[in-house]
């Protein structure tokens, strides 16, 4: 088994995925590295890739005119970065900046998107898994919005 295949196959996001789907994922994958401060994604750019973070931390930032970028959340080891490649208009809605040395596996979202259109079983598996991540992030965002530690809470 190729190391990349092992890494992807053992990742919780891909656990239980059929072997042929897994092989397809591996064929779309490549190891990448980002130095601290590097922008991995830029708001408005075409969203054609997503990342499985293996090491380091990534800050999701929102650009605000006349302000420093606002960090909305961080994404760390074992997490998936980016789902805009899956949904129209396939543009990033946030910036993603490497906080420290980041090692990741980049997956070709554009390629996978086309495969999902061709094979709806694969498409359903992918969407189901991303929906789980979206739900977790939505829950966390709602909790964050409550500003629980503010005075008077």
């Amino acid at each position: 088994m190729e190391p990349l295949e092992r890494i992807i196959g053992e990742h919780p996001f891909f656990v239980g995925l059929a072997d042929d789907f897994l092989s397809l994922m591996v064929s779309c994958a490549a190891n990448v590295r980002f130095k601290p401060g590097t922008y991995i994604l830029k708001e408005g750019d075409a969203a054609d890739t997503f990342y499985l973070i293996r090491e380091g931390k990534v800050a999701l930032e929102l650009f605000a005119p006349q302000h420093k970028p606002i960090i909305v959340s961080t994404i760390g080891i074992g997490e998936i970065l980016g789902w805009s490649w899956l949904l129209e208009p396939y543009r990033w809605k946030f910036n993603a900046r490497a906080v420290d040395d980041v090692r990741a596996i980049a997956l070709d979202g554009k390629c996978l998107r086309n495969k999902c259109e061709e094979n709806h079983d694969l498409g359903y598996e992918v969407l189901k898994r991303f929906a789980g991540i979206m739900e977790q992030r939505l829950d966390a965002t709602r909790l964050q919005l409550l500003d629980l530690y503010a005075v008077g809470r």
Partner: protein, 280 residues
């Protein structure tokens, strides 16, 4: 009541402010020593005292110091009202009345031999700090110690130097996150529940101790249960308006419990149904 001799629990004992340390812009840690040497105070992690600022009022404050250090009471207080504002503005040498310690404690002794998960939000780290001291002082008696701590922003984090120090201990994992991180913050940004996926836990042999806003605790419990922790191994500290601190006045009644006497630390299973009641 764990003071030496027989002392009326309604009678404040005289203590002197020995140190006031600013933790964050609105939160201070005070060290109090007994004015009379006979008032040796022993407490269990998780217990609280009633602190009386003369001429202002009395307030329940969790003990945040080291339980191994007798004759010294440490409290971390957030200045949110008249009484707490007055307390944190006490000068060294001023007198403060102390009743207690009161209430149940965290099950630190019962947790020997097991992994300990401490989950704190905001000032909720203060009542849990004695747990951390006790586990670290008896490191071989416990398995892994995992501390998950969430704050509002980097400047609102308590005990930052100690957090870094605790993380250097063997078999100890400290993960800190903030809801709002500035550009200079290099740590995690997100609520405390987002830290669970980075924690190295063995749910079957773990005991979790959780303190923070109740909404936060509800979400934390979901995470702990999803990881496989038994409800009997999850403990919470519940906060209500405590007044007499000995279960007489009823101000802190919480269903069939008086928080001052039966709590503030409860096993989750004891209060699970109450946490879901809108009226409480």
């Amino acid at each position: 009541m764990a003071t030496s001799g027989t002392i009326d629990p309604m009678l404040p004992q005289p203590y002197l402010v020995r140190e006031v340390f600013k933790e964050t812009p609105d939160t201070f840690t005070l060290r109090l020593d007994p004015e009379n040497a006979v008032n040796e105070t022993v407490f269990r992690p998780g217990q609280f005292s009633m602190l009386w600022v003369f001429g202002v009022g009395e307030m329940p404050i969790s003990i945040s110091g080291d339980p191994a250090l007798h004759n010294r009471l440490v409290y971390t207080v957030r200045s949110v009202g008249q009484a707490t504002h007055s307390l944190v503005n006490q000068r060294v040498g001023n007198g403060v009345g102390v009743r207690g310690p009161f209430g149940t404690g965290w099950p630190v002794e019962a947790a020997r031999g097991r992994d300990v998960i401490v989950v704190a939000g905001g000032i909720g780290l203060a009542p849990l700090r004695p747990v951390i001291y006790q586990v670290l002082q008896n490191r071989k008696d416990y398995g892994r110690l995992v501390i998950l701590y969430g704050g509002r922003s980097p400047r609102d984090l308590l005990y930052r130097k100690e957090l870094a120090k605790w993380a250097r201990n063997s078999e100890t994992q400290v993960l800190v996150t903030v809801d709002y991180g500035g550009q200079s913050w290099r740590g995690h940004v997100g609520v405390v529940t987002t830290l669970f996926k980075y924690s190295r836990l063995h749910p079957a042999r773990s005991v979790a101790m959780v303190c923070g806003p109740e909404i936060m605790m509800r979400f934390v419990i979901r995470e702990l249960e999803a990881m496989g922790l038994s409800r009997d191994d999850i403990y919470l500290s519940i906060e209500r308006n405590m007044n007499c601190a000995v279960g007489f006045c009823g101000h802190c009644q919480y269903g069939p419990h008086f928080i001052c006497k039966d709590g503030p630390v409860f096993r989750y299973e004891q209060v699970r149904a109450l946490l879901e009641k809108y009226e409480l």
